[in-house]
């Protein structure tokens, strides 16, 4: 191999750079996200009423799609009321429905969004509720 030493050193540097994010993070404990749903608004409700618009598992994975759908229904079709599988009715609104219960944006939204490093632009326009100390 011509210039074998140089190639090997080059390769080593290359592999090192590419894998940098991995070994840079080794040993660093990342705090597991722990979103909180214990806002005063939710705690006020009786146990049986503490339910989200849809099942928790569904909301966990699909909330962003549901919000997009809600927006289209409200803005484009002038449909304002959402009836879920259980027949409960909700006004479709991030600011006036979701955040009325989940009044803890930092511990509810940001907790996971920061962990997975997504930056949804909801709060550029929508107004987050004022957070109270629990």
């Amino acid at each position: 191999m011509y210039n074998g030493g140089k190639i090997l050193i080059g390769l080593l540097i290359f592999v090192g750079l590419v894998t940098f994010p991995y070994w840079d993070n080794i040993g660093k404990a990342t705090v597991k996200p722990d979103p909180k749903v214990d806002t005063p608004e939710i705690m006020k409700l009786p146990e049986s009423e503490r339910k989200c618009v849809e099942a928790t598992s569904f909301i966990k994975t699909e909330h962003m799609k549901l919000l997009n759908e809600w927006r289209d229904w409200v803005v484009r079709d002038a449909d304002g009321v959402y009836t879920n599988a259980e027949g409960r009715k909700y006004t479709m609104s991030l600011q006036n429905t979701c955040m009325k219960c989940h009044s803890n944006k930092t511990k509810f939204c940001d907790e996971c969004h920061n962990y997975v490093d997504v930056k949804p632009y909801c709060w550029d326009c929508h107004i987050a509720p004022k957070e109270k100390e629990i």
Binding site: K65, R76, D79, G80, Y82, T83, A85
Partner: protein, 264 residues
């Protein structure tokens, strides 16, 4: 085995017809939420075509105008920016020569010349802003004729501002939040979003209030100087007034068919 071009085209055609072509993620979502459904709020005010009548005879003092403008600005978190190049307007005052250009007769009474007219988006039946929008961020709602904005889609190209002959659209050159007026203990209005830098905004005929069964904020504040109702309903208040009094619209020669009428 290779597939002939002709066979490929046939297959593509058939699958498109059968609807295999455009299955989106959202269709999947709809299926998982089979039991859920959406509907308009039963209390919502509904109309085939919303329209407004501005009764200029009832605007006597500056306060009469300001009441309507302030009501709108507060409800929608409209910022007040002094620089006229950057200002945001939903409903505002305009002199006759600017509101109705081409109609300035040489001996027009001073009173009319100096009179400010209250102007806003005309929610045209044939809106040029909608025609030019490349993303369908602005669109004419089929159910009630409101020319709407979907802020999530607006890319800030400002074609609509160039197309609108009434100057009813404003662009956010910077983050509007610091410019929202501090109202009594309610700043900004927590029920309505603000806008962000880089989107175009305008009057929406208070679609969010109509959905709750309330008339637009300016109409409510006007003490009867602004009338609001269904232009397709011959028994509505607006149609009664239009049927009995002389009315005019802004720049009718353009064929945009404005739905905001003025009477004296």
């Amino acid at each position: 085995m290779s597939i002939k071009r002709r066979e490929f085209l046939k297959l593509a055609g058939i699958s498109t017809v059968l609807g295999f072509g455009g299955v989106s993620a959202v269709t999947g979502l709809r299926r998982t939420l089979e039991a859920s459904e959406v509907m308009p709020n039963p209390e919502a005010l509904v109309a085939k075509k919303w329209g407004m009548v501005v009764d200029m005879s009832k605007f006597k003092t500056e306060e009469d105008y300001q009441r309507c403008i302030d009501a709108c600005n507060h409800v929608h978190n409209v910022p007040s920016i002094d620089n006229p190049k950057k200002e945001i307007k939903w409903i505002w005052e305009e002199h006759y020569e600017n509101a109705f250009p081409g109609n300035e007769a040489p001996y027009l009474s001073e009173k009319i010349k100096e009179l400010p007219f209250l102007v806003l988006c005309n929610h045209c039946t044939n809106p040029p802003c909608v025609r030019v929008c490349p993303t369908k961020a602005t669109f004419k709602r089929k159910s009630d004729g409101i020319v709407m904005m979907d802020m999530h889609r607006c890319i800030g190209c400002r074609f609509c501002m160039a197309a609108c002959p009434y100057g009813a659209r404003s662009f956010n050159w910077e983050d509007p939040r610091p410019f929202i007026k501090k109202e009594q203990g309610n700043y900004p209005n927590p029920e309505f979003p603000t806008r962000t830098k880089g989107v175009v905004e305008k009057c929406t005929f208070c679609y969010e209030r109509l959905a709750k069964g309330l008339k637009p904020a300016c109409v409510e504040a006007s003490k009867g100087a602004l009338l609001f109702g269904d232009l397709e309903d011959p028994n509505s208040e607006v149609r009664q007034v239009l049927g009995s009094r002389y009315s005019f619209r802004r720049r009718p020669e353009l064929g945009t068919q404005p739905n905001v009428y003025y009477i004296f």
